[in-house]
Symmetry: C2
Subunit: 655 residues, 2 copies
């Protein structure tokens, strides 16, 4: 693996050290307008500012006060991981704080800074003198510690605290939360270690998370022992310390695993930690395991939306190609974890496919998790809601919910959106790589020589992305690398009189690499063909046999009942012989391009009391579609369930 120095020092998550064994380093990007700017503005102006109020009413902050001795009453919340909601919010708010120029925060920014300060003080007050902190165990379990590692989430919560502290320190330069996190990390390091280390507990948390956090703490502090402890934890799974079940990642060591399994978020956080560890240690075996598992996951266990986790019952991965629609779990947190892991893999390997999956997940499985107004959420993200659906309510509802009893997803969405600019671009000694297309700017450096590119695009509604070189060394060639998305079949790129398309562009492994001596003012225009398309699945995906999905660019589309009143969505057959048309609707769902298709209604004869019939019984066999045409309006999947509750389908029968 080529060794390269960091391209720059962006304030964001995942900051590989100077000696890290990565192919690419994160580059700074800024999102100034367009699709993701709108989503980030809603996050910054609605979701994040509402966090403290929601954490107050859900009792998370009250629990910290209970521990600090500044409040009276009962513990609130039913789970031992409620502290982590506070930490994830602090991380989100910290990344948000970094985006205002000091002195120019405005009243909203000052209020946010005050909230962060207040809540950090609360966390610091709640911490025990030896560094331990977990309100559930301090109150509900009488101070008992580390006796229930399988379910207790103590190290998981510590991991989120550490990530928040790293974010706060990187964003503000301030130490107060970092000091709290270090005290807790030092405490954990004094307790956990392998046999012979003199540490009393050779255990690991049932929910991975602290591993990736400890690597980041090492990056932020330079303390090698945090990295060593992360390594100890990553290699502690799979040896029966947690009872040996797949759910807790304990059935088989990561290094010898051949597929992803168990609880999806646990698996993915562990893999993010393993990738971080491989980056800092150059551990080729661990990297190889990560590559193997990513391949197995994407090829056999990933929904079209990038969603992960097939089962409700244990929130876990299913068997290969077991990808149900209505019972897709696809937890919003799993989409986030997938993006986090894939970004680390992109930096490690330089391969574009990791950012292909990130793009697909961002625009679909992830973004569906938050409403357009930033005020309500989906914990699970099904690909189908049937006609006649009876909603169970609760966290796993197919209806958007203001907050959850297990509120892991909302602050997780907040922290990803607040840090999104750090997942968009990378650099190495040879140039700048644009992974995701936004209106804004990207900055890298070539061994200290800055390069900068600004962009303008209406992506994903339009396929044109216009780049302007803003800064470039004179007389030194470098490579501008543009990711050609995996879904994209036709594209053109031009600079001045030079033009390429899919037949002759210098593209390999998903990267269009354009090396030249760039000059400020040079313009590059990339045009990605976005025409709507129909997609089929591997025939082993039984759940979608005989069906197609509508996609356009990076977006997966769906039909919603609200656009087809009185039409049972489950009685519709898509006419694949008729063209798909697109229509941009600025009025709809904050402005979306819809795809208009033609369907036929199926008239299903009354089958009496038994819905199974002999094949060849023409009265019912397949209930062939009628001539009755139905105009179908497909909307982007991410925007579903923003108008009214009702049925929804991504995959549509074709006969």
């Amino acid at each position: 693996m080529p060794h390269s120095r960091p391209a720059q020092s962006a304030v964001g998550p995942v900051r590989p050290g100077r000696d890290a064994q990565v192919t690419l380093h994160p580059a700074t990007a800024e999102v100034r307008a367009g699709f993701w700017h709108t989503r980030r503005e809603v996050n910054a102006r609605t979701s994040v500012p509402q966090g403290p109020g929601l954490l107050e009413s859900a009792g998370n902050l009250h629990n910290l006060r209970l521990v600090a001795g500044t409040a009276q009453g009962e513990y609130q919340g039913d789970f031992p991981f409620v502290d982590s909601d506070v930490y994830k919010w602090l991380e989100a708010a910290s990344w948000q704080l970094a985006q205002a120029t000091p002195g120019e925060e405005g009243p909203e920014g000052r209020r946010l800074a005050a909230d962060v300060h207040r809540i950090i003080s609360l966390v610091a007050e709640a911490q025990q003198s030896d560094g331990y902190l977990n309100t559930w165990f301090q109150i509900r379990r009488g101070g008992e510690r580390y006796q229930d590692l399988r379910w207790g989430h103590e190290l998981y919560c510590a991991g989120h605290l550490i990530q928040a502290a790293v974010a706060h320190h990187r964003s503000t330069g301030r130490d107060e939360l970092l000091d709290v996190a270090r005290r807790f990390a030092d405490h954990i390091d004094s307790v956990f270690g392998p046999p012979g280390s003199g540490k009393p507990i050779d255990g690991v948390d049932g929910h991975p998370e602290i591993e990736t956090a400890l690597v980041e703490l090492y990056r932020e502090t330079g303390e090698r022992r945090y990295l060593d402890l992360a390594g100890h934890f990553v290699d502690s799974y799979g040896h029966g310390k947690l009872g040996g079940d797949a759910y807790s990642q304990d059935r088989v060591p990561l290094r010898s695993a051949d597929t992803v399994e168990g609880h999806a978020v646990r698996q993915l956080y562990l893999l993010a930690g393993a990738a971080d560890l491989a980056a800092e240690t150059g551990d080729a075996e661990l990297l190889g395991a990560c590559e193997r598992l990513w391949q197995a996951m994407t090829a056999t266990k990933t929904h079209l939306t990038g969603g992960l986790g097939a089962h409700h019952a244990k929130e876990d991965f299913g068997d290969p190609f077991e990808l149900p629609n209505e019972r897709a779990y696809c937890e919003t947190c799993a989409a986030i974890a997938s993006i986090q892991w894939s970004w680390r893999m992109a930096l490690l390997t330089g391969e574009a496919r990791y950012s292909d999956l990130i793009e697909r997940t961002l625009f679909n499985g992830f973004l569906a998790g938050v409403s357009l107004d930033g005020e309500s959420w989906l914990y699970v993200n099904p690909l189908q809601v049937r006609d006649g659906h009876t909603d169970s309510g609760g966290d796993q509802s197919a209806r958007r919910t203001r907050w959850f009893s297990c509120a892991c997803c909302p602050p997780n969405v907040m922290r990803l959106l607040a840090a999104l600019q750090h997942y968009l671009a990378s650099g190495d000694a040879h140039g700048l790589q644009i992974h995701q297309y936004v209106t804004g700017s990207y900055r890298g450096d070539l061994d200290g020589v800055p390069v900068a590119v600004s962009t303008h695009t209406d992506y994903p509604w339009q396929g044109t992305v216009a780049f302007t070189i803003d800064e470039s060394p004179r007389d030194r060639p470098w490579t501008l690398s543009l990711r050609i998305p995996q879904w994209c079949r036709t594209y053109r790129v031009r600079c001045g009189t030079e033009t390429y398309d899919q037949s002759d562009a210098p593209v390999s492994d998903g990267w269009l690499r354009w090396e030249r001596t760039w000059a400020p003012g040079d313009e590059v225009v990339l045009e990605l063909g976005l025409e709507p398309r129909l997609t089929v699945a591997d025939p082993r995906v039984d759940a979608v046999r005989g069906c197609v999905a509508i996609e356009r660019g990076p977006l997966v589309y769906c039909l919603e009942e609200v656009d087809h009143p009185g039409t049972g969505l489950d009685d519709i057959v898509l006419d694949t012989t008729r063209p798909l048309a697109e229509r941009h609707r600025p009025d709809l769902l904050g402005g979306v391009t819809t795809v208009v298709a033609t369907g036929h209604r199926r008239h299903i004869p009354d089958a009496g009391w038994w819905p199974y019939r002999p094949a060849g019984d023409t009265a019912l066999d397949a209930a062939p579609p009628t001539d009755e045409q139905v105009r179908l309006t497909a909307v982007p999947y991410y925007a579903w369930a923003n108008r009214q509750n009702g049925s929804m389908r991504v995959w549509l029968p074709t006969s």
Copy 2:
């Protein structure tokens, strides 16, 4: 509804009173040889005798001794309903005891009688002086009672105790368990009642079961207040007393419900109780609700196997037509509950379709729950196990298990098999109705005049059922009614020179009704066409789009990996143009008729890391089957997982 008097006084479950508003009364049947005789012999000689040892090692009996003060130690078991396993076993053993002629029990029968006596004594010793009995609450909850009706299962356990007591009393004429049950029922009747009744608690159990039990206790004792209490409980659901959720049957009152919902076993036990109540009270509204819900259940929420319950997460019904294969829950107990409810509906209405569903469920979704040797069990009954399946172990494993941590299913199977002869035939003033075909005899009476028929058949392997009239009044015509199964397209029936087939037989609503003045020695031969057939589902059952299932007679078939070594079952396409052949294999699985079909192997090209492709991409689109033929051997679904663990499919793709 016509009123008729009981045809006879069979010793078995569901004994409608003399004034019950039922169309048919249960008739006595005896199973002497053939398919169900074999299964019942295994139950009588292996499953039931092993019960006490399993209840001992699982701790159920120990818990009773703890309460009785005759043992020391910790409570065993993780659920508040472990007592019910003991009661269900006592019910099974009691029905078993009834089948030996007194004095001719043999050593096995004497051992069983001793076990029953011993365990009844234990139950009696454990009962508190005021009649209350629940080991979980007496020990683990410090004697607290009825404080957690939603989860506590106190009345559920009481219901199973009452059913066991009724069975024991009917079978042996002895009072000792009935006395225990009546004391508990009297205690419950003193505590539970509507507002204004002077009873302290206006509540109901989160798990229905006591309702049907109390109706049977009324039938056994003549005490009207047990019937009234059952009515109070049935109408207590759906009014928010349990929090209002569908899971506990509390979202909507049964009388106004329009589909089955929530936890499948809870729903079905409640419906069995409602049907019992309608039988004894003539409550037409309640009967109407039962008929409406049965129709909704069978038409939209029943798997091909008769299995019920689509979801693992809450063991509940899914949406209409949400009938997954690999994640079908289809709990064995739900199949049993469906049979119990449907039998009550058959007696109430006289309609054959209820026994159609019973037959389908008995031969498939129910029978799969117990291994051929009677020693291991399936809690859930999926219709597919994928190639590469990773089994989670535990109660919900797709592998047969010796006993479960929640062991509700095994003793439930035992009690149904031990009482199976009571689900086979009925009588009214006009004749005898044969619902299920076995080798044995059926007895009814016509207002006190006995009629008897003996039968011989190799059903379900052969379609011929030969009836001989053994007893009949001279010069008085009566009707022998034979159920023509819903799946059956061709049949013939003859008596002497009189012959009918499907074109001219006097069949209506599923009953072939043959009225004549029968004489002892008359012979009737029914021949049901059993040729193997392919079955399709309503197109709204998305899970099986583009697939067919193989059936033969009442049996659903499946492919198992063990019969197709090295062939990935998920890569097979059934060739529907080739004939199905049948082959009886006395050596296989205790003797089964297999169905031999032709398939083609699909060669799926390596799709890289992403299993979705543009429609029309001929390299992958549908991955058409090759010319490589594969001989497929389908075995009856009930017999799967009796040889080795591996993949299995009921529904097979056709292209």
